[in-house]
Symmetry: C2
Subunit: 439 residues, 2 copies
């Protein structure tokens, strides 16, 4: 790690805010999920702060089956990510645009094509956060056969990623010729895909030039073993959820150690854990801000959210002031379950405490403090081999992101940890990750 | 038809232009397909002209298998339509945004969700041109089983349309409550879909409010019998390709006559045939413009295009100055085939003549003349029960659209045939079609 190594920063956008009760807070924009002006304003705040990227999550379903619970806990209505980011592309000039999209209910050609389109729209600023769809509510929108097991979803995801990369790589730079000549294409630079796998058959070319950044950025958040392996093989950026610095270091070392077997260098992947910063002029002000948010969470909502993340029907039959019961293995996101269980045991939290703690930032690292305290915490992890940067999850939008950009970013700059200006025009240039060898 | 009945106008956008050789013309922007600034400029020209909508076609594949031919005939590289229109939504304020998307290789929940997102982004200006994928090149990008027959594609399309409409209708206006209360949703206004059909299973809700226009606009271009029937049952707008006024009147009457059995009124569907206008200050200037374009078409390209639309491998073994040979029945777009064959017989055209004639505007009605002559031709069809409006296919962009807006639109206004100002903010308001009964 050289002396001029810089942090990477992502702005994880989410309607009213990342805090579960953000929609109830007087400072939040409660109907923000489908307000494009709100998202344009957020993207511009992040770009003013010289963030590497904005990031949006996704699920092709509502998030909560129980309508009583949904009515009190719904984070927001939402745009579909690719259309949202296309609209933001033309309102920004340098910031990367990373959309989550699932390999479970899409097809490689369709999704590779949509990301190629976003990449062209934005001049090379697109990124794809590859996920599998782990929710039964999503399964019910697409298949009569129900939710597929974790291993089957990842088998499909592996093949999906390979096919998508091959589709992007099928058109070399310069394949579409400048106007004025007799030919429209240079046929030697077009390489039709020939993919025949277990899940997909693709034989063709994109009707789109080569990506302005060589290839869109691949993002993953794999926390399971197969997820980390897929990330090591194909990702440029990895998002992670770690509570403690030790967890973060272990995750960081684990993913980086997997790179060599794919012929990759440790700097070829940027690992960016989530951080939910609550910024105050004083520590007391920050803690008060945090408490004000936490007090907006109804116990029933926190406990139900905890139960849903643990993939059990109901926790309300257990004493709320007692510990978590032992959990059955399921085929859901096993690593996220384990993270919650570990946190409860480590800090000896009751169900109620764990629910509230977890509900706030959904398992991500929360830091409430002054700009210097937040910069200290980030610098510690950045310097200790726990992070190459962070995905910033503001508890409330726009104020939480505005606070971070106005107060924390300058503090990171004073320490030489973060850029003063964008290095380039593409996301890949700004992240400082090279173009992988073509397939 | 009342005295103040107005024409509907769509601007069919297509990179460099609709003319097959537009990319070779000195006035065209040859690399326009992935230039978002170019499309923003076109959308603004159309909005300045108070067009009802812009429209983009789609295919999830390249358009020509033969690489030599593609290199001389490629219309352009292209954006994926939904991301393109999302970017245009935030650069326009009133014009409708209609994207083509296929029912063959998508899923109803995913596509209904993307159009709902575009509809929210644009404040109620989204429309979906529902098609099936008739190209083998598309089939090869998605399936190992090859192109499905016309009847199977339409069976899937019928079920797809029903599922998508039910998904949109699942969220009533007002289901997501204003901020400040204890609840986020009004549960009585949420109606989860329960669709179990032959092709799809959907059980859920959109995480998006009700469409600002009640429901996105449904567009179709069905020319086969099943296509017209689906249009009569579900479409708000129908695009059509008719060469002569008699063909146009027959098509118009046919589709309108099918409405009653679905409980619909004849004004519930707007029929908008394509028109490719070549505008000149004098008729001679217009004809010269047209000839200059036609002369840019290499014979080989015209004949190959004709063969591909007729779904036969090759026409080059037939004498180019002789008539079309008899055609076998295929499972491709049968109605388009018939249109070409009829044109050749009616006007006694050789293969070469038919190829060139057809290549120019791909089977659509071409009118080269002064603004008054073009307005005359449009008015004749509008008044004769052959059209409710037109989908304007400028031969070259931006100049062809600019000419139409600057010269022909004022002429239509002088005749009281076209609006002076937008009637409303949504596409449905401007088209003047009501919100269909909810499902």
């Amino acid at each position: 790690m050289s002396g001029d190594r810089k942090m990477r920063l992502g702005a994880f956008l989410m309607a009213g805010g990342h805090h579960i009760a953000a929609w109830r807070h007087p400072l939040a924009h409660a109907q923000a999920g489908v307000d494009i002006d709100h998202f344009v304003a957020l993207a511009r705040i992040a770009e003013r702060g010289k963030f590497d990227m904005i990031f949006v999550e996704d699920a092709a379903a509502i998030r909560e089956r129980n309508s009583d619970m949904a009515s009190q806990a719904a984070r927001s209505t939402a745009f579909e990510p690719l259309s949202l980011l296309a609209a933001l592309a033309v309102n920004t000039s340098h910031i990367g645009l990373v959309a989550t999209a699932s390999t479970t209910y899409n097809e490689p050609y369709g999704l590779a094509r949509s990301f190629a389109s976003l990449d062209q729209l934005s001049g090379g600023r697109a990124g794809w956060n590859l996920v599998t769809s782990a929710s039964e509510l999503e399964a019910e929108n697409f298949a009569s056969s129900g939710l597929r097991p974790h291993s089957e979803r990842y088998e499909r995801a592996e093949e999906f990623a390979d096919a998508a990369l091959a589709i992007w790589d099928g058109v070399e730079d310069g394949a579409y010729l400048p106007p004025g000549g007799a030919d429209f294409t240079d046929r030697a630079k077009l390489h039709p895909v020939h993919h025949r796998g277990k899940h997909f058959a693709v034989e063709g070319l994109l009707e789109s030039p080569c990506s302005p950044q060589g290839r869109p950025i691949m993002v993953q958040a794999g926390a399971s073993d197969v997820g980390k392996e897929l990330a090591a093989r194909t990702a440029d950026v990895v998002f992670a959820a770690s509570q403690t610095i030790d967890e973060a270091k272990a995750y960081y070392s684990d993913v980086k150690a997997r790179l060599a077997k794919y012929g990759r260098q440790i700097d070829d992947i940027k690992i960016m854990p989530g951080i939910s910063p609550i910024v105050g002029a004083t520590e007391a002000e920050a803690k008060a801000k945090y408490r004000a948010l936490q007090e907006l969470i109804p116990d029933a909502v926190g406990v139900a959210l905890l139960a849903s993340y643990l993939s059990i029907q109901d926790l309300s039959s257990y004493p709320l002031d007692g510990p978590l019961p032992d959990m059955p293995e399921t085929n859901l996101i096993q690593s996220r379950q384990q993270l919650i269980i570990d946190l409860g045991r480590r800090e000896n939290l009751s169900i109620r405490e764990l629910a509230r703690h977890f509900a706030g930032a959904r398992g991500h690292w929360q830091v409430a403090g002054t700009p210097a305290q937040i910069a200290d915490a980030m610098e510690e992890r950045f310097s200790a081999g726990a992070a190459d940067g962070f995905n910033v999850m503001a508890p409330i939008f726009p104020s939480g992101l505005e606070d971070f950009v106005t107060l924390v970013v300058p503090e990171l700059r004073r320490r030489g940890l973060f850029r003063e200006a964008y290095e380039g025009r593409t996301l890949r240039q700004n992240l400082g990750v090279g173009v992988p060898a073509k397939r």
